[in-house]
Amino acid sequence: MWIKRSLVIVPVALLLFLAQSVFWVPDQASVSDNNSRLNRLMLYMGANPEDMNPWTSTKTSDSTISQYLYEGLVKTNHLYELEPGLAETVLVKHDITCYLPEGMSEAEFEGRLRKLMGARLKSFAKAADAKSPVRLNLTTGKTLAAGESAPDGQEILEIPQLAKVRFMLAPEPVKGQITQAIEPEFEALIEKDLDRKPWPCFEAAELLKRVSKATRDTLTDGTLTKTLGEALAKLDTTPTSHSPVIEFHIRKGIPWVDGPFFEKRERVWQAKCNGEPCGWVYADSRQEAITRLKAKGLVEKPEEAAYEVSNYAEKDTFGDKGYWWGKGPECTARDAKLTFEFLKNPDFKSPRMSSYVSINEVRVFKDDPHKLEVVYGELYSPALYDLTGQLLPYHRWNLMAWKEEAVRRGKGPTDVGLNHDVYNPMKYLVSREREYRAWPSMNGFMVIEPLNGDALPLWQNGSRCRLRRNEFYWDRKPEYQFLDYYVFDPNMGRETAEVVFNTGGLDVYSPREFQVERYEAKTKEYSVIKRMPNQYEYLAFNCSKPQLSDKRVRLALSMAIDVDQILKYVVYNQGVRINGPAYPVLPWYDQNHMIEHTWRSDGTDAQGRKVERKGKTEKIKYLPFDVTEAKAILKECGYEDVNGKLIGKDGKPLRLEFINSTGGGVRKNNALLAKQNWEKLGVEVDYKEYEWNVFIQQYVMALKFDVCVLGWSGGIDHDSRQLWHSTCWPTAGGLNLAAYANPEADQLMDAILKVYDREKQVEMSHRIFRTIAADFPYVFLYSPLGTSVMDSRIVWRKKVGEKDGKPVYENRPVNHDFIRNARANMVYFFGELKRVEEVPQWSEQDYKR
């Protein structure tokens, strides 16, 4: 009976077929010991890379890849400090336009400035002549025309108008350093130097002193001050305008790398139309290339346009698998100019536009294509951090190249019913949809290896992305040829990665907190490196709620949270406790901050004996978990403990609406322990979880909560206004989720933006830190440690010197003191790692030398 037989044979055959496949699978040893592993580093990521345009991408997975592909004019070093990147020197100059101090000639003022500023004063010139004095009738408050006289008995006051001068303060360039000559307090400096007010004619109070006694007796000082104030309001009385100018000298000889190309080298022609680069043409001869280029219809009259085509020279290419990359144009100031001008342009549609709108002008110089000046309209020191952003290659992004792609993709002028004169390719092929996102030109130390054949994107979405060493990289090249990133499921990524890591398929793994100890015990197989990332976790109080507007209540509620318990049981001690609003890995965090606290209750020591402390003021590093003290503070605020419940003066219990997003994880555990702690204190806690989008928009951003649990990560600059400024409440579109408002903090946050001196920035940010921390808008919990576990065969190739002009590298353990003490993310060192055949034996000194 064939049916019966097949019912047995088919499943058995299928199972046997599947089962025998196990014998074909490479085991752990062959996965981790095969030769190809020596020439690559294998990593993973929990999301898909999608957009390689650094200015339109929004995801971490995009920047995970693009950080290897591009470099910016400025970069951060291993200590998270800014230093020149593509630029050899970075000078922050200060262009000041000001009125001449009253009673001084130009020469006198210049002399004073030279004495005051020394060699920093690079130029000085008159910017505008003085206008005729304004003649003010003090009785009527009217400004009189030239020659017009006032009626008898009415006094005319002449308000002097001053000439304007413009001068530039510039530092001496130092290679490898960012030097600055910004004088944000220029007015105060001049006043101190002159020992008088430099521009008294711009102040009503000063002008009042020039009015005759008779008139002052008649009209009174109040009336006159008002009249003078109204007259001055019509004049330009801002004595000084400040424009920082950042001058870059881009290193010479850094090429853009184009490709990969799948056609033979001889068939690929770099094309230009009317002098503007416009992509590539594939043709067998120059003539055919030009014919094809003409046929693209890039200009109104193609026959009359000038075309140029050129091949890549053989020495300017690399690649060994049938496809290749070519050395494109040199990276120069025009790339930077285009990048910054595009970023300001709304048509470019960059989500980061707001960081660049304060750029007034970008200057390039015909005689020096590597020199660039970025002129800002006002002092804004975090702008330097924005300049760490990557550059866009001019030859791919100029409007002719943009139009070429639009024409090729059926979105050109004729396709959209326009002529070339009015056609703007930015409108019809939006920046984030250009091929560049999947096929970029690069100047970083890696390029993208094609895995999809010649199809875009070059990487296998959802599966893996492979990078190849850029053979034309200007600085230290990695010693491996490939860098593989495997893409795992966003939710199960870590678990998958561990499984693959344990079978030898990955070189680096980031364990969960509870796994760290396990890996630390296996010192022969793994190296464990811990990092404090720029991230911290917190519970935010909504300070706009009546019961939380008193900072003493927030203090008491903070004291009722056992943060050490959270650290121990939620993150298994893989976190660093914090006491204020900054990432502890950054200099803006005040490591010496102490909380000044006056005890309201007596305490007990470890043995349970009473400790007298009531009324004493102490400085403490972190708020202790002290329910007795918390209750005493709340009592002071009007909350009585009635049968274990805290009842306010109005007879209502102290109640908190505590919200969180769904999804569990560390934040849920943080929230549940906090809820438990507050309930023990006697607070009624109404804990709710919402889907992330609903949580953020309908509750957090609408300030419909008392407490929420969240965390911050990211930015490394010192501009904290979005998170703490009183103008940045969520209801106004900001991210001041605690609805925090403190005029002193506001003033400091505004002032620090004008400060370019790093030491002053640090000092001011510590003041901001202390001011906010003392108001307890958050329960500052901890900064989680980021741990990387590496296969022991991965070593750090440390540069130990030079021989015959070439650098000499030696192997060191990856958890060498230098790497352990660095602040930057571990990825910073990935270019300097290498896998070796045998696990090295390290001596104690190897970790230090």
């Binding site: 592993r37 898909n48 999608e50 957009d51 536009m353 994107p457 199960m492 693959v500 079978t503 579109g733």
Partner: protein, 335 residues
């Protein structure tokens, strides 16, 4: 038959339209703005507003609906035209909000990743369930039958993802054999080794995924067989002196299988969601995971396209199973 199919196609079109409206409303009116949820201190409200304008977030729902379906059918037309040698210059209208990849071609590519898993899983479920179910029915109330029953309920009770995690732990940690992802990570294989390496990586998730299906379907098969075995015509066949195999596999199995033909309707849409858990656990970049991630990223075009295509496949599956049923069972007449 033809008039039946034409009538059913019209009904399908109407059903699809209703599904399209309802599903679009559910997705479009879901609370929360995917852009505003990105808490990024570097982005100002103006930045978010600009992006919202760009994607037409604030457009009326009707406009969004018509925009979506006109783009969908335009792309769908291009897919069909490509099959008949159409041009390659078509600019895809529906692109993912996050990856900017064209939705329909990506869906096809992802489906090719998922398909081997779904096919092997389905083959295992169906090829194992029938012999076990029949064996159990023919030996009802014996030790073997009770063992199969207990085992079935055990497998139904244990979730596949839990078994997967245990198996992954055992196979990778104890045996040191790679198991996750569609192929071994860390080594580049070619030829038959590559083929069988991929087979192994399909085998475990497909097998674990099939366990619950086998357990459930076995119960159905046993029930159906037992019901048919109690019919008069089976008794007659036995009385006629036919041997047991003739009775069971010729006269009983065919009518007992008829209800399972209707279950085939669910096979087509299972490509979308049938393996999402296993794709996640075993890190397969397949269709289910793609759709699942799109839901969380509020990638409306992917979600809507998947819903629409999934609904269409379900309706096609139902139609096909109805037609197959009429072929398999002469008593069923399509009219």
């Amino acid at each position: 038959m033809l008039s039946y199919i034409i009538r059913r196609l019209f009904q399908m079109a109407l059903t699809l339209w209703i599904v399209s409206v309802l599903s679009f409303l559910i997705v479009a009116l879901a609370p929360g703005d995917p852009l505003a949820s990105q808490l990024d201190p570097k982005k100002t409200p103006a930045d978010l507003e600009r992006r919202r304008d760009e994607i037409g977030y604030d457009d009326p729902v009707v406009k969004k609906y018509t925009d979506f379906y006109s783009r969908f059918f335009s792309d769908f037309g291009a897919v069909i035209s490509k099959q008949f040698g159409g041009g390659d210059n078509y600019s895809w209208q529906l692109t993912s909000e996050t990856s900017k990849e064209a939705v329909l071609p990506t869906m096809w590519r992802k489906m090719l990743v998922t398909l081997p898993l779904v096919i092997v899983n389905t083959l295992l479920v169906w090829s194992l369930s029938f012999p076990i179910g029949i064996y159990s029915a023919l030996r009802r109330n014996t030790f073997q039958d009770r063992t199969i029953t207990v085992l079935s309920y055990t497998l139904i009770a244990f979730p596949g993802f839990w078994i997967s995690i245990l198996i992954i732990g055992f196979v990778t940690k104890t045996l040191g054999i790679p198991i996750v992802s569609p192929e071994t990570i860390g080594v580049e294989l070619e030829g038959p080794r590559s083929f069988f390496d991929r087979t192994w990586h399909i085998a475990i998730p497909a097998f674990v995924g099939a366990l619950t299906g086998v357990a459930t379907l076995t119960r159905y098969v046993k029930g159906q067989m037992m019901e048919v075995m109690g019919q008069d015509y089976i008794r007659t066949a036995k009385a006629k002196g036919l041997d047991d195999d003739q009775v069971y596999y010729k006269h009983a199995l065919r009518p007992a299988s008829l209800p399972f033909i209707t279950m085939l309707a669910g096979l087509l849409p299972s490509i979308f969601g049938g393996s999402v858990v296993f794709e996640a656990i075993y890190s397969w970049p397949g269709l289910g995971r793609w759709v699942f991630e799109a839901v969380f990223q509020r990638d409306i075009y992917i979600v809507m396209t998947s819903l629409f295509v999934g609904s269409a496949l379900t309706l096609i599956g139902i139609l096909v199973s109805d037609i197959l049923l009429s072929v398999a069972d002469p008593r069923v007449r399509l009219s």
